[in-house]
């Protein structure tokens, strides 16, 4: 499940990936440009900095930028840091396992299938870089228009 936190984090990173290499972005600009509550964004960017995806500079000219080229950061890397283990439902995780109140995990077929689904999620998200995600939006636009037409 991608939480709001994960979604906002990815949007913020795509925002940074659009900038020329090395250029810093103000938190306020990222927040307003992507409809993200500023305080929440501060916390998210802090976590992304701890994990080594963004760098920050303090002061008047301060802000955030990507710590590495956008094609080196994979979407799956980011989602695990912000949302924890990739999992379609909370019980489908090995390290952050959360028991469902209403079923027995050993015999639950839903959980077994969802454990398989998470492998598929990892496969997709670990192949796609921030750069690909950034370029994807514009690529898909004509298709979306065609579908509507």
């Amino acid at each position: 499940m991608l939480t709001k936190k994960g979604k906002y984090g990815l949007k913020a990173l795509v925002h940074l990936a659009r900038l020329p290499a090395g250029q810093l972005a103000f938190v306020n600009d990222i927040a307003t440009g992507n409809n993200i509550p500023k305080k929440f964004l501060d916390a998210i960017l802090g976590e992304l900095r701890n994990a080594g995806f963004v760098q920050s500079r303090k002061g008047k000219d301060g802000g955030y930028r990507l710590a590495r080229p956008a094609d080196e950061i994979k979407v799956g890397h980011v989602v695990r840091v912000l949302d924890g283990p990739l999992a379609p439902i909370p019980c489908a995780s090995r390290t952050q396992y959360q028991r469902c109140e209403d079923c027995n995990e050993a015999t639950c077929q839903v959980r077994h299938l969802m454990l398989e689904v998470r492998q598929a999620i990892a496969e997709v998200l670990d192949q796609r870089s921030l750069a690909e995600m950034r370029d994807m939006a514009t690529d898909d636009l004509p298709v979306a228009i065609k579908v509507q037409a």
Binding site: N50, A51, G52, F53, A67, R68, E72, I73, K74, G76, H77, R80, V81, P85, L86, A87, S93, R94, T95, Q96, L115, R118, Q119, I121, A122, D126
Partner: protein
């Protein structure tokens, strides 16, 4: 296209070369031609399994040492069939000489089987160089002849570089007879030091052993357990090193709270080690090699419990002294006077020893390799060291990368040479997986 390559030369007939040949020969392709070249008289030994000492046992239990990725019990069955192990007696840490025999017999069987087909050819000779030609590769041999094929795979294993300075390698020609009561110094405190200690014991050496490394850490013992189950979806990839280490420490702590041994957590991560390594940014890889690897190694690369018991007893009795520090000066008189600066107190301590053994590890700058094939590839710009200079730069498909960044379709590598890309690729459980994958890639 490598898909049409029927003739393959494997340069190096040690463990990784034999394991690769075995996997390639599983193909039913009648036109396949494998040439395995080894300079030692025996195939399947290399440096790793050439020791004859019975105390030099495998550092991985027999259950993990099959040559075949898809038949993990192959070595275990081989031991059982020969009465070298019994069903109820797991885990077994077999002598490395027994493992060399296993690989030797495995190759003998393949040779017999392929006699009619002509698909396997063994050459006992030193390889000097590999040169790409219009139609494939040419491997020049020390006897003046050469062999050609569509492609070549380097499987030259660990470097045999002579020891540095005054230090000698255990068991080498320079390791002459020694007064058994004199102290010796061992550079390194890892598994090679343990091998040196066992060899000295076997020879009846009684003098003290001073083992020096930067941190003075001794590897841990194995314990029977069950690796925890992890999925790639659970593991943070591509972060900086401190974030990953924090995650891993927490994971161990949580498991320990549930009564699970740390080894089961370390071993549970193993299937993902290459993926973790490959997703790290260059800075994390560099930091890991510089700061974290020594700690990782003593937890990840462990020894048989019986060996550990002997070593710790020797440490407790003062027979082995572990010193965390660095050698700052060596003066040679009749013996060696060595000054070591302590890591913790910075104080200098002086040792008088009759010999210095180099057990400081097997990772060397590849461009100064003692292997002429590897060195000549680097010298001619056909290959280059990986960014950390711990092996050759290869693609995720094992293809050698040239000095100008071109990926070679004709020269590939497996085993320890590829550690810059594949991280832990020194042990059979990892090498056999790499060989299985490469066979599939080359022959479909």
């Amino acid at each position: 296209m490598t898909g049409r390559a029927n003739s393959i030369i494997i340069v190096g007939g040690g463990a990784s070369g034999v394991v690769l040949a075995a996997h390639l020969l599983k193909s039913s392709n009648p036109d396949l031609r494998i040439t395995l070249i080894e300079k030692r008289p025996h195939f399947g030994q290399g440096i790793a399994y050439s020791t004859l000492l019975s105390a030099h046992v495998l550092n991985v239990s027999a259950a993990g040492m099959s040559a075949y990725a898809d038949d993990p019990a192959n070595f275990w069955r081989w031991l059982l069939e020969r009465g070298l192990a019994s069903q109820d007696q797991a885990p077994v840490y077999a002598p490395r000489s027994v493992y060399a025999r296993y690989l030797g017999e495995l190759l003998d069987d393949l040779e017999t089987r392929e006699q009619q087909t002509g698909r396997l050819r063994l050459i006992r000779e030193e390889s000097l160089s590999i040169t790409p030609t219009a139609s494939g590769v040419e491997v020049a041999l020390a006897n003046g002849t050469s062999v050609v094929a569509h492609l070549a795979v380097l499987a030259t294993g660990h470097d045999e570089e002579p020891a540095q300075g005054h230090a000698v390698r255990m068991g080498s020609e320079a390791d002459t007879a020694l007064d058994p009561d004199r102290s010796v110094m061992v550079l390194g405190t890892g598994l090679s030091m343990v091998d040196a200690f066992l060899a000295l014991e076997q020879r009846g050496h009684r003098g003290d052993i001073i083992a020096v490394s930067r941190r003075g850490l001794l590897p841990s013992p194995h314990r029977k357990g069950n690796p925890i189950k992890l999925d790639v979806a659970d593991i943070p990839l591509g972060t900086q090193l401190s974030y990953f280490v924090g995650w891993f420490r927490d994971l161990i702590k949580e498991n320990q709270k549930a009564g699970i041994d740390w080894r089961d957590v370390v071993d549970g991560l193993r299937p993902f080690n290459q993926k973790i390594w490959q997703n790290w940014p260059a800075s994390a890889k560099r930091r890991f090699v510089e700061h974290t690897k020594a700690w990782w190694d003593i937890h990840r690369h462990r020894m048989a419990p019986e060996v550990y018991a002997r070593v710790t007893e020797a440490v407790q009795s003062g027979r082995i002294r572990l010193v965390a520090g660095r050698v700052v000066d060596i003066a040679k008189g009749g013996e060696f006077t060595i000054q070591v600066q302590s890591r913790h107190t910075q104080r200098l301590e002086t040792f008088e020893v009759a010999r210095i053994y180099d057990c400081s590890g097997i990772v060397r700058d590849i461009s100064t390799s003692s292997n002429s094939v590897v060195r000549s590839l680097v010298d001619r710009g056909l290959a280059r060291p990986d960014p950390l200079r711990i092996g050759l730069d290869v693609s995720a498909k094992c293809e050698i990368i040239a000095g100008d960044g071109t990926v070679s379709a004709k020269i590939l590598a497996v085993g320890p040479l590829t550690r810059g890309t594949f991280f832990e690729i020194d042990a059979i459980p990892d090498i056999r997986v790499q060989c299985a994958r490469l066979s599939k890639q080359l022959l479909g």
